[in-house]
Subunit: 216 residues, 2 copies
Amino acid sequence: MITSKSNAWFKRVRNAMREHTDEIVIEGPKPVADAIKAGWKPIVIPEFSPALLKSISDTKTSQGVIALFARPRWTADEVFSRTDSVIVALDAVQDPGNVGTIVRLAAAFDAAGVILLPGCADAFGPKAIRASAGAILSVPVVEMTAEALLARGVPLFAADAKGAAAPPPARRAILAFGSEGRGISDALRNAATPIAIESSGRVESLNVAAAAAILL
Amino acid sequence: MITSKSNAWFKRVRNAMREHTDEIVIEGPKPVADAIKAGWKPIVIPEFSPALLKSISDTKTSQGVIALFARPRWTADEVFSRTDSVIVALDAVQDPGNVGTIVRLAAAFDAAGVILLPGCADAFGPKAIRASAGAILSVPVVEMTAEALLARGVPLFAADAKGAAAPPPARRAILAFGSEGRGISDALRNAATPIAIESSGRVESLNVAAAAAILL
């Protein structure tokens, strides 16, 4: 049983939680079981002492169960090959809880995938994985630049209070959402049809995940 | 300038942040300015030392500005007197971020108010206030029992996957949302018309704030 924070396995798991570059950590008995059921193969690691496990995990969520997996890698072609649904694009959505919630919404409403443009939180960090409630297992998530996204030539619609309150298309379209403070970047805005969400005007904006829920 | 954690003013502010029974704390220059603009009168307190302020506040949000206010008290009659909109009822929604996000949605879609049934997070805690993005200043929030809610005789609709995917009424109705794990309590379920949100079936449920965004 591993008891030391200087152990290489401990460092590898901690690194996967912090950086999630090549490996990711899923916490909790149900999320881990769901991942394995979905065909993910956990990396076999030696047992950690309870104190060591507690030191890296959100014990309330993990209930003493964490698993290490290779980080899934999807390609943009996998996302864009589906033409029967929409693609979600997030632009500088910094909060990992919002990114994870939107991955969950993408699964709920069968979007083809989620594109993370520069400045977004990583969808494979612990907080985003938790907020996705298992959807991170099945939704293709790909990082792209705005230029690469626009080069695909798929009609682009952006949540933007300046637009008309019209429903977006249900397929062959990208639905873009920006950060709450600044909205989408100019490069996207210039190429997008703005879509407003009709509201009372009593608040300045909606939470980005709420906006995504409504448009999806 | 107050520098000690044993000072009575410090304890009063800390208590308002933790318990928010009679007084509440709003953090950050913009939320505090918004509250004052909305007619709230801050309680005048002596200056805290930077170290003391840092010890109680989320400094990233507060930016060194916190204000103490009397907790607003709304009555159920104030909520139920409006008949041109819907009323939101939350049943055991424990996460303060979800409660605050739903208060924000209630403002965005001009709901008459938010009823907190037993088991909900307090809407006046720091995390819920932040998630409300200022909406806590204008949305009537009232705690009630399920019995008192049902006694009002207003048609009740509940987000429930077992229902039909029909739009809820836009007025003279209560829209109830339960916790993600357990849904609404039996007392409400027996009295409510269930309304489902059509989805792909790829996830077990939606986040409660996402469900509220869609139905509102």
